[in-house]
């Protein structure tokens, strides 16, 4: 089973939930798919044993063969290629690698075969262990934008026989879709604030469109108001667990430490979370 931990709003506690759920379960695979700013390693402190570079194809021009026809710039959906007039010479192609989405349209459609694909490094995947937990995360290089591609590469390492926990990026855009697409269950972490609720509703819209069974974890319960819980009740969404707004938890977090066995009651909270995930998942399976 693959469980993704997501949220609309950032900073609601995705990593806290994902990491402590992994710890309470023990022998699981943990994938940090927030490749723009992975932070689960700060808490799990895995021993990294392997690094896999992530590269993407980027067009390279054979300036002799190129006729300057401009077809490549025309078909590039991301405006990563410009073909510019050059006084006294044929028009010259200009490539902006950071805008390239590696779709391959330019090299496929170049009428004279003047484009070949070079490889460009955009990040790295690191693999290791923390006890029985197999740890994998992607790290995107600063200034790069193709996080969905790195996320898909990280997910390519999923072992279908293992229980896998995915720490997803925040928001509801492409990187989140890449992280949660195809998972068996999605845990949406929210906080009882107007902002938390607003972004929760966006995340709910997303998981419903992707037809992923899901439930909500309310973090910092006791803070703010009851609007998030009222919303879940109205929308018939299961509240899988509540993590109290507790100074002891904040202190552990700020020290880069985990909660299981350290903050009283947390083992029960996360065991209960997993039990509820299985229950909601089973109900969803029965209905579909």
């Amino acid at each position: 089973m693959i469980i993704a931990v997501a949220s609309g709003k950032g900073g609601t506690g995705k990593t806290t939930v994902a990491v402590n759920l992994a710890l309470v379960l023990g022998a699981v695979d943990f994938l940090d798919c927030d490749v723009e700013e992975p932070n689960a390693h700060l808490f799990l402190k895995p021993c990294i044993q392997a690094e896999i570079p992530v590269t993407v194809p980027v067009p390279e021009f054979d300036k002799q063969k190129c006729t300057g026809c401009g077809k490549c710039a025309e078909v590039c959906a991301y405006h990563a290629i410009a073909v510019i007039p050059s006084p006294g010479k044929k028009p010259q192609p200009l490539i902006f690698p950071h805008l390239c989405h590696a779709c391959g349209a330019c090299s496929l459609l170049c009428p004279v075969g003047a484009i070949r694909e070079d490889q460009r490094n955009i990040g790295v995947i690191e693999k290791g262990f923390r006890g029985d937990i197999r740890f994998i995360h992607g790290k995107m290089n600063v200034g790069e934008v193709l996080s969905p591609l790195i996320i898909r590469r990280v997910k390519g390492l999923i072992d279908p026989n293992a229980v896998t926990i995915i720490d997803a990026p925040p928001g509801t855009s492409c990187p989140v879709v890449a992280a949660i697409k195809g998972v068996d269950f999605c845990v949406l972490v929210t906080e009882p604030t107007p902002f938390g609720l607003h972004d929760l509703t966006l995340a709910v819209d997303l998981v419903r469109q992707l037809k992923i069974p899901f439930g909500v974890v309310i973090n910092r319960a006791g803070l703010g108001n009851d609007a998030a819980e009222d919303y879940c009740r109205t929308e018939c969404i299961a509240v899988l667990a509540k993590i109290p707004f507790d100074r002891a938890i904040a202190v552990r977090y700020s020290e880069g430490e985990t909660l299981i066995d350290k903050v009283p009651g947390m083992t029960d909270v996360f065991n209960g979370l997993y039990k509820n995930i299985c229950q909601v998942k089973n109900e969803a399976d029965r209905c579909s």
Binding site: A73, Y78, H79, A80, A82, V83, I84, P85, S86, P87, Q92, L94, F96, L99
Partner: protein
């Protein structure tokens, strides 16, 4: 010689639009014939690469000079590769900008002076 001014409107008395890639209009001014041709910018709503597209368009229209407020890194690179000279910090109307250029009062941009995407959402 053709000068391209980024403008909020299509006329000589339109105000200069300080953005390059996502300006409202490109007003081309022929210094010899004094003819004016305005082109509405098709790249305003572009999700990315507006500067590159605009630069490519301006160069293909045969402008040798661009007068604008600010220019980003991708537009700067594209215009420079096309041999187009860029003058930033331009203000007033299109006519004011052309006059200032002809009087030699404008400073040539030697580097981009704004970040990518800074022309969005205005």
């Amino acid at each position: 010689m053709k000068v391209c001014v980024t403008a909020l409107g299509p006329k000589e008395d339109s105000e200069v639009d300080p953005r390059f890639g996502r300006c409202q209009f490109f007003v081309f001014f022929n210094l010899h014939t004094r003819e004016v041709e305005a082109v509405a910018n098709p790249n305003i709503e572009s999700s990315g690469g507006a500067g590159i597209q605009s630069a490519q368009m301006v160069a293909s229209k045969g402008a040798a000079v661009v007068l604008t407020g600010h220019v980003g890194p991708n537009a700067f690179k594209t215009l420079s590769a096309a041999g187009v000279t860029i003058f930033t910090g331009t203000a007033g109307t299109v006519k004011d900008a052309v006059d200032a250029y002809e009087a030699g009062k404008l400073a040539r941009a030697v580097a981009p002076d704004s970040a990518s995407k800074s022309g969005m959402g205005k």
